[in-house]
Amino acid sequence: MQRIGVFVCHCGTNIAATVDVEAVAEAAKSVPGVVFSADYPYMCSESGQDLVKESVQKYNLTNVVICSCSPRMHEKTFRKAVESIGMNPYMLEIANIREQCSWVHKDKEEGTEKAIMLMKAACAKATLNTPLTPGMLPVTKRALVIGGGIAGMQAALDIAEAGYEVDIVEQKPTIGGKMAQLDKTFPTLDCSSCIVTPKMVDVGQNDKIRILSYSDVEEVKGYIGNFDVKIKRKARYVDEDKCTGCGLCTEKCPMKKVPNEWNLELDTRSCVYIPFAQAVPKVATIDPRYCLKLNKGTCGICSKVCGVGAINYEAKDEIIEEKYGAIVAATGFEIADISRYDEYAYGQSPDVVTSLEYERLMSAAGPFGGHLLRPSDHKEPKKIVFVQCVGSREEESCKGGKEYCSKVCCMYTAKHAILTKDHYPDTDIYVFYIDVRTPGKLFDEFYRRAVEQYGVHYIKGAVGKVTPHKETGKLEVQGYDMILNEQMHIDADMVVLAAAVEPSHTARRMATMLTAPMDNNDFFTEAHAKLRPVESATAGVFLAGMCQGPKDIPETVSQASAAAAKVIGVLAKDQLVGNPCIAHPDELMCNGCSQCAGVCPYGAITYVEKEFRMPNRTTKMRRVAQVNEAVCQGCGACTVTCPSGAMDLRGFSNNEIMAEVDALCL
């Protein structure tokens, strides 16, 4: 039999002014199960807590009901107090007679009546309370970073710095990501590769970090502290341990007509290749789509020239299984497909390029060695038109554009304009913009420099049509200047389109595996937009970089470091304390219908075939639900879906809530 103690707080006059606290304490005496009741000026004070503790011991109380302020205020305080004398903290209930009674009602008679009802409801629930113990979860002290761009590298370095092992899974043959493809960075005009390649080397040389390049995450199981991840290491046909990266094979490979992804297919590479000079790991990879040996059984030259015998044509994809305590998603971004905007003639003329392609055209490691040339005739462009917001800030119903602002385009276009003017001062540059967005340190100054110092023509307006003229090799740009209110025609040599950024196409697959929520644009959703911006709602999964939303390099790096700090926070613990108020199925009741698994936002529910003892010494295999206590957050969606009531929520059980309903309605 439960022995309940009821304690009514005056809260000075906060409660006592509108609620007759003595009457509430007196009324409690007649509630079934209540063996002790008292009122006290400040329950939350040290002496108030002592009163609770003493009474529990003196009257052998099994449950405590405190009638005071909101449980959001002091539930933890009182739970701690009773725990200190050996009572299970979940045997305590709070009746909220301040925020939801004395403060909102004026009439003392009515207020007292309501307070008594709230007290009775709390007693009714308390009677059904059961002791709850949070589960303790061990932590695997290793982290996984998905994506080897600047976000992934920074996160990995910071985690490694704290002394934990990190694996980076990168789908490309080298880490470095998009930042390695950039020429310069805004607004300082640092050489991008000069700052990113040392980072790549740091990552490559850090003995806590293992780079799993040319690999994909295949499966993620488990939960915070204990993720089981399957990683596919795609066949490289080159032994990573043996290859020295000398590059001889790439020179001798006869298949030289492979489109070069690194330069966005503006030039070609050999079939066995190292993406670029500073690649990490600096190891050759054979492209199986083009290799003569793999496809036709001929050639085999790379194997012959390799001095260390690293070439292995028999290599197969390999699946490795690893355990991690936390995961950072840093899957990055891609440039959206803009081929549907045929008004800009992208795809019709090679001289209409995206900004990232322009970046490669300008790069010293690019197809023209840093000399800015038109892709069509390799002549220097004299007039260049930049078009902003191609595919961004557009309703999806229009052309399937992105409704969001891609954020980085305004700044990199200013950078392109300045760099071009720097190297080729006689170039005419026009930038058609809707708005120039420069919120950032030194950003607006940078943009103003482009206008004032370099004389870049910024035109508030848009481009309506780009017509390539075969004979002259010019691109006729029909634009509109909103300030002058006139249409203009520009004979341009090149047109550069600021194409929208979009999340990596692998992101959705990844989010599904991680059971991490995404928005409609396939960006990962943070757990709280303001207060938990680097955490996914899935415990143990953290977010860094563009995969969470458009951002520039410093923002990406700071988010990566923040995510790393969160990861370290998880890994530094030996055990994680779970939330005991979670769903649990009564296996004898569960009928295996699997509806609950369908509504669980965290994927915490799985099903197992389990043997049950039946009458007459027989057994029966039955499919029953299992709740992963580490993953369940205790929302209760499953409990309502369960037709048999087998799934219940600890701390808010069906019986407890029904008892409250009964107490309030009678």
Binding site: S70, Q100, T525, V599, A637, N654
Partner: protein, 148 residues
């Protein structure tokens, strides 16, 4: 057990509030000393999706005159999608209750955020007024459990 017996009708109203938004919203109403009728009795649940249709029916069975469910605004659920489930479930449940002839004004779902103390008060004022107007829930209440 109304203390104002033999005076005007005092409805019993049960309000289920999710812990993260609406319960905090109700707390905020208190902190700001915004007043609403004493008829409203709040039951705290972790998420609006914890509210089983059984609870709603049970409240009516035990003599509630109105049941209101409050949760985070769609898109703001602490558990990401709980209130989307609530929305569907309750739409269908209310439609069924209506089909059985129970006045649909007796049941309601409102989205109240933790910042909307005033909205919580407005919602409760309005709901209480509507229920008072409707009168006692003769159609569903359990006569034997009612004390007077």
């Amino acid at each position: 057990m109304s203390v104002k017996e033999n005076t005007e009708f005092q409805p019993t109203i049960v309000a289920f509030c999710c812990n993260w938004c609406s319960y905090s919203g109700a707390d905020l109403a208190g902190t700001n000393r915004l007043s609403y009728p004493t008829n409203v009795k709040i039951i705290r649940v972790p998420c609006s999706c914890r509210i089983n249709p059984m609870f709603v029916l049970r409240a009516f069975q035990r003599g509630a005159d109105g049941v209101i469910l409050c949760g985070c605004h769609p898109g703001d659920c602490h558990y990401m999608e709980g209130n989307y489930h609530t929305r569907r479930r309750m739409t269908l449940l209310f439609s069924m209750l209506n089909y059985l002839g129970i006045e649909s004004a007796r049941t309601r779902v409102e989205w109240v955020s933790a910042a909307e103390g005033q909205r919580f008060v407005d919602v409760m004022d309005d709901f209480t007024a509507k229920i008072t107007e409707l009168g006692p829930n003769r159609r569903l209440e359990d006569l034997r459990c009612k004390k007077n």
